[in-house]
Structure formats: C-alpha cells, structure tokens
C-alpha cells in the first residue's frame, strides 16, 4: 500500500551509486566513476545524448549489467544487483522503451504475470488480483479498464499498465526509459500528471530523456551525462535550456532551419486516392491523396502505426496498393517493382535503420552501394564487382558527410547511431535523387548529427529534390517542413503550413480531431 506520510524536507536518500565504472571490451568506458543519489519523492531526470551512457547506467541499476567497480546502496544498505530479479526484490522497477506487454492478454493478466495470486487449490485467483490491482490503481489515481485487452489500448495507456505492474511488485524506485518517445504531447502531459502523483505518494522516479523541454516540465533535479561521465547535477531553476543543451553536447550547436527557398512548379510525386490493406483486410492507408513539388519538404505527422510506414512502403513498391494511383513525374509507378521505382530516382531512409536501412554485419563500403552495386562503375560487368572503385566512392562519401570512422572497411555495427544514419543518408541522397522518402531520419541520432542530417535534407530540397519526411518528432517536422500532412488511422486529417504549425495543433490532429487549417 502506498505510504503518504514522509518528510519531504528531509531529502531522504533512497538510492546511492558510488564510483560506478563499466567498460565494454576493456577499452570503451560506458560509465566512468559515476556518483549519484536519488531522493525519496523526486523526479530525477537523466539527460544525455544517445550513446552518452544513460542506458548502461540504468542497466546496472536494474541488475541487467554488473558494474566493474563501485557500489550501489539502497536505503543505506550496500546491495549487489546481480540480476533484475534482485533489483525488483529491492524495490527497483523499470519501464522499458519498448513496452513488455502481451497484447492478447487483459490488463490484469499482464500485471500479475509472473506473480500470480493463487487460490487454495492452486488455480489462478483473478478475482482477488483484480481487487488488489483496482485498489492500487485507485490509490494512485491511475485510471484504466482492467479487463481490456492490451492490444486495444493506446501506447499511453499501455505505459500506465507498465507503471501499475511495477507498483504491484512494490517498486519504490521507478526507472522510465524515454517514456515519451512514442507519445503525443497530450499523452505526455497525462503521463507527467501520473508521475507527479507518484512523487507525492513518496515514490522516486528516474526519468531518462534527451528532450530538454520535458525536463523543465517534470524534473525536480537533473543529472547530465556525457560520454559515460556525469557533467553536472542541477535543477530546472538553476539553469536554462541553452546551458543544458551545451552541457549535453559539450559544444554549442545550432539547429538548421528551413530558409525560404523557391519551390518548383512541377509535381514530382502525386498520390491519388491510395488504399493499402494490412492484415485481416483492414485499411491501413485509407484514401490518401497528396502531391509534392520539386524542392518541397512535405512533413508527415502522426502517432506511429497510423499508416505512415505503409504509405512509404506503397510509394516504394514494397507494399501493393489496393486501389488508387501513384505518379512519379507523371508516370504511374504503383504497379512497378521496387527496383524500377528506385532506379527512377527515389531514395528511401527507412524508419528502422538497423533492421532495414543497413547491414550491420557488413562493412561501410558494402553498405554504401546497396542500391547501385550492380550498376556501372561499381559492377564492371556481370561477373566482376570493382571493389577498388567502390572503396574509393565510399571514401568520398565518408569525407563529404564527415562520418567518424577509421576507414571505409569498418563494420557498420561498430559505428554510433548518428554515423550509421549518415551512411544511409549519404547512400540515398545521390545526384539523381528526385524524391526522398525519409522516415524518422534522426531517430536515435545525437543532436549534432541530427542537425547535420537536417541540413543535408534541406540542401537536397534546395537543389530540387522533393522530400517526404515522416517523423514522430514534431519539433523536427515544424523546423524542416514546408507543409505538414497529419495522418490518423490511415486517413489524412489535414495539411498545415510549416510556418503556421504548432505542437498543440498537430497533436490534436494526430489524435483524430480534424481542426487544422486544411489547405
């Protein structure tokens, strides 16, 4: 049961890390002498770029990884967190970025999984569990239909289920790993509301993020991490966004913003009444029509899973359309093979970089020619691939995009997320790229690389390339797009001008209210 009477002024420390060190492969320091303490009843934000060492630290706190050096104290007692079971037993719970729920089970079933309440004869006692969870949820003000199937719930609701799951396991310290990554602004606000309540009830929360705005909304204190080291511990009152960004990145970075540039008159991509069916013949793309002109960046906003990915795949010929037509420079392409569509000048940055964009177990130069390996000059003839020429080409691209690597023969898996994504962008933005479909182009990419990728996309647009940019990062969309199209359940909710777009307006449209100014 939740405790309510604790002394806030005391700053009682519930978790202390002393001098934590973790190396991988003996060389890379994922954590360097990290000292950190967590107080009862606070929301403590961990800020850092991708690869800064946030997740390593959290894995050590949750018992997934063991520190090479250093100690962890919980409520003053030293504890060796040898597994996540030990962490849970000691009151530490974690909500992972990918939610670990079983879609076909109900909320109650998901919550009790692994910790089932049994009746005297040993069968599952769902009724008792239901009652207990109901009390728990009410006490913390977490509204949820306990009998609903998880697959019917929104991402925000599922996250709530994960939180109840932790409370059911009597967690006092909750670690949330980038919880807002997949949420709309409105859902994020609801989550923060829940976190505030948990805080008041005496729970301590570690909130991992790289979004600065959120830190100011919710955090009591924040710790900034850079390359495995703690750069500083501060409070929202003591600092401002610019300072914080500089602490995170280590140097000043300036975002690249769209500058007014001429948009060509010729329509490059024209999508007319396209329908795509998914599993069970459900329309995943529902009567979508839009067009993109040369030099125009069309942003596509929407909560993930509302048809954006399928729309991109349909344009690329990876998914068959049920009806409707897609024209590339006036030529119908919806029945053509992916190969032909790609050859006609369509570049694609897929949303799943490691799953679809790159071959991690191959080298940089091999990845660089994935689209053109069978064309001259790379393939001299059908039985001779000119690896020398390919390496030369890869070196040029590495230079051009300032990809941080020792040479072109490094395995892609050894590169950071930002450098990996630069390879994809470098490969797709060739000279004859007429249309670029960029899905989540900067997801999991450090700030400096993200800005760089934006600048390259904008540069391509200025040179006359039409761009369709699908993103769940609204700031990115507003900064880069000329126009933003919002999708909801496969339908187009409306178009918003890039200059007129606001996070709140887009957020409402993403939830299905079509009150945006339609153009």
């Amino acid at each position: 049961m939740p405790e309510t009477n604790f002394d806030k002024t005391e700053h009682e420390v519930v978790l202390t890390c002393k001098d934590l060190c973790k190396c991988y492969g003996g060389v890379v320091h994922a954590s360097k002498h990290v000292d950190f303490d967590l107080r009862r009843g606070e929301v403590h934000a961990f800020l850092g770029e991708n690869g800064a060492g946030k997740s390593t630290l959290m894995k050590m706190l949750y018992g997934i990884e063991q520190p090479d050096e250093g100690k962890i104290y919980i409520n003053g007692k030293e504890i060796v967190l040898s597994s996540s079971a030990v962490a849970i037993a000691n009151g530490i719970g974690m909500v992972h970025q990918e939610l670990m729920l079983i879609p076909h089970l109900t909320v109650v079933e998901n919550i009790i999984l692994g910790q089932e309440t049994k009746t005297k004869v040993g069968t599952l006692n769902l009724r008792a569990a239901h009652k207990e969870i109901k009390n728990l949820a009410d006490a913390y003000g977490l509204e949820i239909d306990l009998n609903a199937l998880v697959e019917k719930l929104s991402i925000g609701q599922r996250q709530r289920v994960e939180i109840i799951k932790l409370l059911y396991r009597k967690a006092d310290i909750l670690i949330l790993d980038e919880p807002t990554a997949l949420l709309t602004p409105q859902e994020s606000d609801a989550l923060f509301e829940v976190l505030r309540r948990l805080k008041e009830m005496g729970k301590s929360i570690i909130f991992i993020t790289h979004k600065l705005r959120e830190v100011y909304q919710i955090a009591d204190r924040m710790t900034v991490i850079r390359s495995g080291k703690i750069v500083g511990v501060t409070t929202p009152q003591e600092t401002n966004v610019a300072e914080l960004a500089q602490m995170m990145v280590g140097k000043t970075v300036s975002g690249s913003r769209r500058t007014p540039h001429p948009i060509g008159s010729n329509i490059v991509l024209d999508v007319k009444n396209v329908n795509v069916l998914g599993f069970d013949n459900i329309k995943v793309v529902d009567d979508v029509s839009f067009s993109v002109r040369a030099g125009e960046v069309l942003g596509v906003a929407g909560i993930e899973g509302n048809g954006q990915t399928q729309l991109a795949q349909a344009i690329l010929g990876l998914l068959k359309t049920k009806s409707g037509s897609i024209y590339l420079e006036g030529k119908e392409i919806s029945r053509q093979s992916t190969k032909k569509i790609r050859k006609a000048g369509v570049g694609s940055i897929p949303d799943d970089r490691q799953g679809m964009g790159l071959i991690l177990s191959m080298r940089i130069f091999e990845n660089m020619v994935l689209n053109e390996y069978d064309e001259k000059p790379f393939a001299k003839n059908p039985v001779y691939e000119d690896w020398g020429c390919i390496k030369e080409y890869a070196r040029e691209k590495i230079e051009d995009y300032s990809i941080a690597t020792a040479n072109e023969s490094v395995y892609v898996s050894a590169l950071s997320g930002g450098n990996q994504q630069k390879i994809v962008v470098a490969r797709e933005l060739t000279k004859d790229c007429k249309l670029l479909i960029a899905a989540q182009p900067t997801r999991g990419v450090d700030i400096a690389s993200a800005y760089y990728i934006h600048s390259r996309i904008l540069q391509a647009a200025e040179e006359g390339c039409a761009v369709v940019m699908i993103s769940s990062d609204l700031d990115e969309l507003i900064r880069v797009s000329d126009r933003i199209m919002v999708m909801f359940r496969g339908k187009v909710m409306g178009f918003v001008d890039g200059d007129a777009a606001t996070r709140e307006g887009l957020g409402r449209m993403m939830l299905g209210e079509s009150d945006g100014e339609s153009i």
Binding site: V86, M362, L370, Y384
Partner: protein, 357 residues
C-alpha cells in the same frame, strides 16, 4: 572471413578434441593412442592419404552447397535428397548415353547438377522465403528423394540377381576415372577444386554474389534497395542444390560406377557440418572437409585397431558443431577470462553481499 570467426572454429576444434579425450577416457581407452591412430590412419602411407582425399571429395561438394545457401541466409537442409537425385540422374545418363570418355562423365555430371538444382527449386517454389516452411519442405524432400530413387531403380534399372537395390555398371565413357586403381581417389578432385574457385569468385567478386551475401546478412535491407528476395532465394537454392547433387554424381560415377541404394552415409548432412566449421567460407570448406575426411577414413582404421568405433567419431563431429554453434559457451568463457584478467590486473576484491530480499 572475419578473424573472429576463424578463432571461433579453431577454439571449438581444440575444445572438442579435449572433450572427446574425456569421452575416450570414459570408455576405458587411451585418448593419445586414439589420436595417434587418426594421424597414422591418415598419413601413414600414401594410400591412406589418398583415401583421405577420396573421402574428402563429396564433403567438399556438399560443404560448398551448404555454404552458398547459408551465406545467402537460405536454410537448405534438403542436401541429402539432392545428393541422391543427383547421383541417380548421373547414373541414368551413364546407362543410357553412350558418349566416349571425357564427354560421357562430364555430361552425366552436368545432368546430375541440373537435376539436383531443379529438385531444390521445387520446395522453394512452394515455400518461398518463409524460412520455417522452406526448412520443413526441404527436409521432407529428403524422404521423398530416398523413396523415389529406390522406386525408380527397382522399377526400371534393377540389376538382376542383386540382393541390393542397385543398377548395373554405367557405360565405360561415363565412369569418372581414378588416379590409381588401388585407391578411391579420383578425377572428382578437379571438379571440387574448380567449384571452390568458382564459388569463391561468385560470392566475393560478382555483383550477384554480393547481393546474395547481403541478403544473408539482412534480407530487409536489400529488399529496401529493390532486390527481389524471392528470385534471389530461387537462385540460391538452384546453385546450392546443384552443388549437393554433384557430390552424389562423383560418388556414383567414380566409386560405385552404378547407383547403389544407401550409397550416401549422410553426405548431405555432413555438408552442413563442414560448412558450419568452415564459417561458410569456400576455402574454409576445403580445410574442414579434409578434417572430416580424415575422421571418416580413420574411423575405418580404428575399427580395425579397436581403438575407437565409428560411432565415437560421430561424437567428435557432433561436439565440433555444437561448440561452433553455441555462442553462449564462448560468451561465458570470454566472460570468465575477462573477469580473471580484470581481477588480476586490478587486484580488486569485491564484497559479496547479495541480498535476497
């Protein structure tokens, strides 16, 4: 091949030999004399050595077949069936077509290759690139191949008066010649070496080979790039099935000069083992096929010297594969070594105060 992969195969081999020694000890024999028997059985006389090479030939072919498939990420485990149909097709050509010496066996082997290739295409047409379906379909094709070849031989080509299911001897011109009448070592070695060279060139120097390797590493990424996964899978199965089938052709045309039911003691399966130890590299296949040829040849010698039985050799083969295919073993060992190193280096002692609750 990555350095780490070579290391993995070597360490697996060493560890397997160590564990095998324990197994020999457990049967009350001396492991050192068993290893000595393997070595003398392989290198003792020129004849022994040539026999090792003869045992190696079919394993090179099936090892190559498996390597091409695995490098492309296609799980062809129908190799055994492809060996059988390839062997039978070659023998039928050898029986029916009266070409003179080089053309007779060359033509017979070509038909063997094509038959095996088409036999491998069949389940692929049905299953596509759904890996589970393809695996199951190719496995079932093994049984079909075994029964079908038996039926065809019994029905149309059965040698009269023979107690086995077997054909008569093929035409003179279709017999793949041996170098010396007293050993089984034969002209198949040329086929094997040419195939190793072609497959190496194909996989590493041609655009098509690159696309297959890329597909093996990440099919979704090459699909994004516009490559048709289905067509590439068909092509892979064609090549792989043909290589498997050549193993059958060589054995039938050179060793038995006819089709004998059960001529393959599992070459198709051994091919998977050979490729696994070789890390799917064609050159590696040469080495690992030689090793397995040694073991197979030795198992016969060992039977004679009563050191270790043929079954024990299968245990060693199994150990090698299990170790190569068990990354967990190596992660654990790596971890142990690393922990020891860290502790020695830092002289660091950790208080073990694990709290249960």
């Amino acid at each position: 091949m990555k350095k780490s992969r070579i290391k993995l195969s070597l360490f697996s081999l060493i560890l397997a030999l160590f564990l095998f020694s324990l197994a020999i000890l457990a049967t009350g024999r001396n492991p050192i004399s068993a290893y000595w028997a393997i070595i003398t059985g392989s290198f003792g006389t020129l004849k022994d050595f040539l026999n090792v090479l003869a045992y190696m030939l079919p394993l090179i072919m099936t090892g190559l077949g498996a390597s091409v498939a695995f490098q492309s990420g296609v799980f062809n485990i129908g190799g055994e069936g492809q060996v059988l149909v390839g062997g039978l097709a070659s023998v039928i050509v050898g029986l029916l077509v009266p070409f003179p010496a080089p053309w007779g066996y060359l033509f017979a082997m070509m038909v063997g290759f094509l038959t095996g290739a088409l036999w491998a295409i069949l389940p692929t047409l049905l299953a596509g690139r759904n890996l589970t379906s393809l695996s199951v379909a190719t496995i079932m094709m093994n049984s079909i191949a075994a029964l079908l070849t038996e039926y065809i031989v019994k029905q149309f080509f059965q040698r009269e008066g023979a107690s086995n299911t077997e054909t008569v001897v093929v035409n003179e011109g279709s017999i793949l010649p041996r170098f010396f009448p007293s050993t089984q070592f034969n002209y198949g070695i040329f086929v094997a070496i040419i195939c190793v060279i072609i497959v190496t060139w194909f996989l590493y120097k041609t655009p098509f080979g690159f696309s297959l390797r890329a597909m093996g590493n990440n099919p979704k990424a090459v699909q994004q790039a516009g490559v048709s996964i289905y067509k590439r899978t068909l092509a892979t199965m064609f090549i792989s099935g043909g290589l498997f089938a050549l193993a059958g052709s060589i054995q039938c045309l050179a060793i038995y000069k006819r089709f004998v039911m059960g001529f393959s003691p599992g070459y198709g399966w051994d091919g998977i083992t050979v490729a696994t130890l070789a890390g799917n590299s064609p050159v590696g296949v040469l080495l690992s096929a030689f090793l397995f040829g040694m073991l197979r040849s030795a198992s016969i010698n060992m039977n004679l010297s009563d050191q270790v039985t043929t079954e024990m050799i299968s245990v060693l083969q199994g150990l090698i594969v299990v170790l190569v295919a068990s990354p967990v073993v190596w992660t654990v060992l790596d971890n142990i070594f690393y922990q020891i190193k860290v502790r020695v280096l830092l002289l660091f002692t950790k208080k073990k105060g694990v709290e249960a609750k």
